[in-house]
């Protein structure tokens, strides 16, 4: 457990020392979501309608940005070898890497989303649900993304391959995440959508570290 916390602490420290990675994903999210109101014009009804989809798609793409770097640096400088040789189980250390990836590239999106949602004329209730859905959904994206990042580790042109591999797997998160916001705006119950997102998160939290570990071991051989 200590080793896992050390991995999280180190990754956050590295992220703090070179802030570009954190800021790129966040600015991408801000800019992409701001382009839609500018392009479509001030039509509140239309903007409200497209808001959940646009915000969620932008969040998916923003988390994709730093995904291929998740294990690449550790692979190149030998840290991954040392992690595999640590007495602590590799899956636990990998879980630590996934947590730090979410803290660096997922959490800022969750915190930023309500401010961006105002551009789309969302009311307070919808903003709350959007935040809650992203809070459940972005860790799911990091978990699924980790499997893809590990599978494409060391592959030439892995970045594009990674998008092709991972984006289809993001579809359930997109459907239930955007669906929850739409349901809230239509005055329907959002519990179903959020429960499904939470169930997917629980499932991924259990299996993704193992799958990622297996893929990393292949990359290390």
């Amino acid at each position: 457990m200590n080793a896992m916390l050390a991995v999280i602490r180190r990754d956050l420290l590295v992220a703090m020392r070179c802030k570009t990675e954190v800021l790129t994903a966040l600015f991408f999210f801000v800019i992409v979501t701001s382009l839609f109101p500018l392009g479509i014009g001030p039509e509140p009804a239309l903007l409200r309608k497209i808001a959940p989809g646009v915000l969620w798609v932008a969040a998916l793409l923003a988390t994709m940005l730093g995904l291929h770097r998740m294990f690449a640096a550790d692979h190149a400088d030998g840290t991954l070898e040392q992690m595999a040789l640590s007495p602590a189980p590799l899956a636990l250390l990998v879980a630590g890497k996934i947590v730090s990836h979410w803290l660096v590239s997922g959490l800022p999106l969750v915190l930023m989303a309500p401010i961006l949602g105002i551009q789309f004329d969302l009311d307070a209730g919808a903003l709350g649900v959007l935040m809650l859905a992203l809070l459940l959904g972005t860790p799911l994206l990091s978990l699924i993304g980790a499997i893809g990042a590990a599978l494409t580790l060391g592959v030439r042109g892995g970045g594009v391959l990674l998008s092709l591999l991972v984006l289809p797997l993001y579809v359930p998160a997109l459907i239930f995440g955007a669906g929850a916001v739409q349901a809230q705006m239509a005055g329907l119950d959002v519990g179903g959508h959020l429960s499904l997102l939470a169930a997917l998160l629980a499932l991924a939290a259990f299996f993704a570290p193992w799958a990622t570990t297996a893929a990393l071991r292949i990359a290390l051989e």
Binding site: R10, A76, E81, A84
Partner: protein, 201 residues
């Protein structure tokens, strides 16, 4: 003790070596020699358990390393070509992180003492990025001082080191062996450390 029987390594289609036997007892060290591309690094990775042999097995205290698993990794210190140094972090932070990963307790004073021993006084708080290749190597070697492992597997530990650092490292390995430790290392130089066996690939 570390031993291996009938080790076979195949890279792609080409067999590198086959039927290799070796044994290292407490207080002994094994010098793996051979030309470039004869499989020295591959052998070390097999011994560390980072790769699986095509044939044969590696034993730790008479137990296959896959079964010994955690007990083996607790006793093993592997230093490969890439030393797992994070360029953005300082030498001290790198040492502390490596210790946390090894599940070892390392106080700041101990870490600083280890860095001082390798002549990195005044450079503890500098990001590793600004250190020279030799100094980076010295940071890695400081890890040998702080890590209490019985078996050291070192791949080309003398690369990029000046003569003074080579002597320091040789003395450190000597201490380790005198304390009942074991070491397997590759090097193209002759090593002034007693108790060595040579394995020619």
């Amino acid at each position: 003790m570390l031993s291996a029987h009938g080790l076979t390594c195949v890279r792609g289609e080409r067999p590198l070596f086959s039927g290799l036997d070796l044994a290292v007892d407490a207080g002994e060290w094994l010098h793996v020699r051979g030309e470039n591309g004869t499989g020295k690094t591959s052998l070390l990775r097999l011994l560390a358990g980072l790769a699986q042999p095509a044939g044969g097995e590696v034993l730790w205290d008479g137990q296959p390393i896959r079964q010994a698993d955690e007990a083996y990794r607790r006793n093993l210190m592997f230093l490969g070509h890439h030393g797992a140094l994070k360029e953005e972090l300082t030498a001290l932070e790198n040492l502390e992180f490596a210790a946390a990963l090894d599940g070892a307790e390392l106080s700041e004073a101990e870490a600083i003492a280890a860095l001082h021993r390798f002549g990195l006084k005044g450079r503890e708080e500098l990001p590793v990025r600004v250190l020279s290749a030799g100094q980076k190597r010295r940071v890695l070697l400081a890890r040998l001082v702080t890590r209490k492992a019985r078996l050291w597997v070192l791949d080309e530990p003398f690369t990029a080191l000046d003569t003074k650092a080579v002597a320091m490292l040789a003395a450190l390995i000597g201490e380790h062996l005198a304390g009942g430790g074991m070491a397997v290392l590759t090097s193209h130089q002759a090593m002034p450390i007693p108790g060595g066996k040579v394995l020619q690939l």
